[in-house]
Symmetry: C2
Subunit: 235 residues, 2 copies
């Protein structure tokens, strides 16, 4: 018999489907509100509140109250690393779950991550934007989170988006970041989140380049749509 502290508590907290989904969502690095997390996990506010309380009691997540909002994020790097390890073990322990189902390739290619584009196309876009100098890292906080890098539009970026007709008028009341990188677990690469990320996906739908698949997170681009997407955004 060996000393056994609160492992059980921590593991049990992560071992609930809803809470795991919330934590996964937070692993993207962004701070999310209670209702955002509730909708991410597909539950009501009340339930979310209860879960978030438990998670923060155990210091797996930390809270920052800002007005009537409460922003949650992963407590520290230690917790993030734990999630990563968990991920690693989970992948090898359940290979059967990894066999690519029919929908998987589509999911990998392009999907919705909250309100912006994730998957291979999202990653490609993000890389291209960085290469073009449209976005740039303004600030790096290593204390808070692993990859909590703050991004911003460069002046070139602003010019570019207004030229192609994507309005970047951020209501100045909003606390929302203009740009933000979002880490994708499956690929372990970043894609673009934040206001710009959302605007771009919106633009894709508006221009009918792509449409969202019913009841799924898949974003299905038409052949023509994908070409235009590439030529316009990644010249």
């Amino acid at each position: 018999m060996v000393e056994e502290p609160n492992i059980v508590r921590v593991a049990a907290l992560i071992g609930d489907h809803t809470r795991a989904t919330m934590l996964s969502a937070l692993m993207s690095g962004s701070a999310l509100t209670a209702t955002e997390l509730a909708s991410a996990a597909g539950i009501t506010k009340q339930t979310a509140s209860a879960h978030l309380r438990k998670l923060s009691d155990a210091r797996l997540i930390s809270v920052a109250s800002q007005g009537r909002h409460r922003y949650f994020c992963i407590a520290d790097a230690e917790v993030a690393e734990l999630m990563e390890k968990l991920m690693g073990v989970a992948i090898r322990s359940g290979i059967k779950h990894l066999q690519p189902g029919p929908k998987d390739p589509l999911l990998r290619k392009a999907r919705v991550c909250y309100d912006h584009l994730a998957g291979e196309m999202g990653v490609a876009l993000f890389d291209s934007f960085k290469a073009q100098g449209l976005i740039a890292v303004t600030e790096k906080q290593s204390t808070d989170n692993i990859s909590q890098t703050k991004l911003d539009l460069t002046t070139e970026g602003e010019a570019f988006f207004s030229k192609i007709g994507i309005p970047i008028q951020l209501p100045n009341t909003s606390r929302r970041a203009i740009c933000r990188s979002c880490l994708d677990w499956s690929v372990r690469k970043h894609h673009l989140a934040g206001f710009v990320g959302a605007s771009i996906l919106e633009h894709c739908f508006h221009k009918k380049w792509a449409k969202r698949e019913e009841g799924s997170r898949i974003v299905r681009f038409s052949v023509k749509g994908e070409k235009q997407f590439s030529s316009v955004l990644m010249p």
Copy 2:
């Protein structure tokens, strides 16, 4: 929303008190049978069997059938590291549990780990034995487990133990290792397990140097007993 594989499954498996106890027991590095694990967790064989099945299904532990016994051990280093990380997070998330209770110092000093001596005295003994050259590493398997080092008594060791009157007659039918190092979580140091470890603890009880505290894992040495323990075993 982010990709979320079987994290839940893995975490939920560890997040059960009984299974966590079993895993913790296995973290010592030794391979244990189903009944040993059952008694370690304080449950019946049937329940243990069910748990062990789940754990091995998820590849958190691996099984080796040997005759009518089934030996279980932590599947690989990945899982062990996960447990360590979990441990780390658990400690910081539950500080209240760490405030040293009245019995804690005693537990830290000397306690039973299955059938051998753990705690500070166990660690000191192990270090002394190595320094004296009574035990030596014969084989190191890095593939299997983290600290699965195989130990053996040296000829000096055999002479020493027969001199002080501790019989090391291992029934040759037994599969049990003569010496084995056992990693102590709380201290993160090794102490001596295996047949020799058990024999020594037995010797302590027999010589009335110490007695086991009722209903606890504490081994309480008398003042005289502790002196003799030191002078005889760690000259």
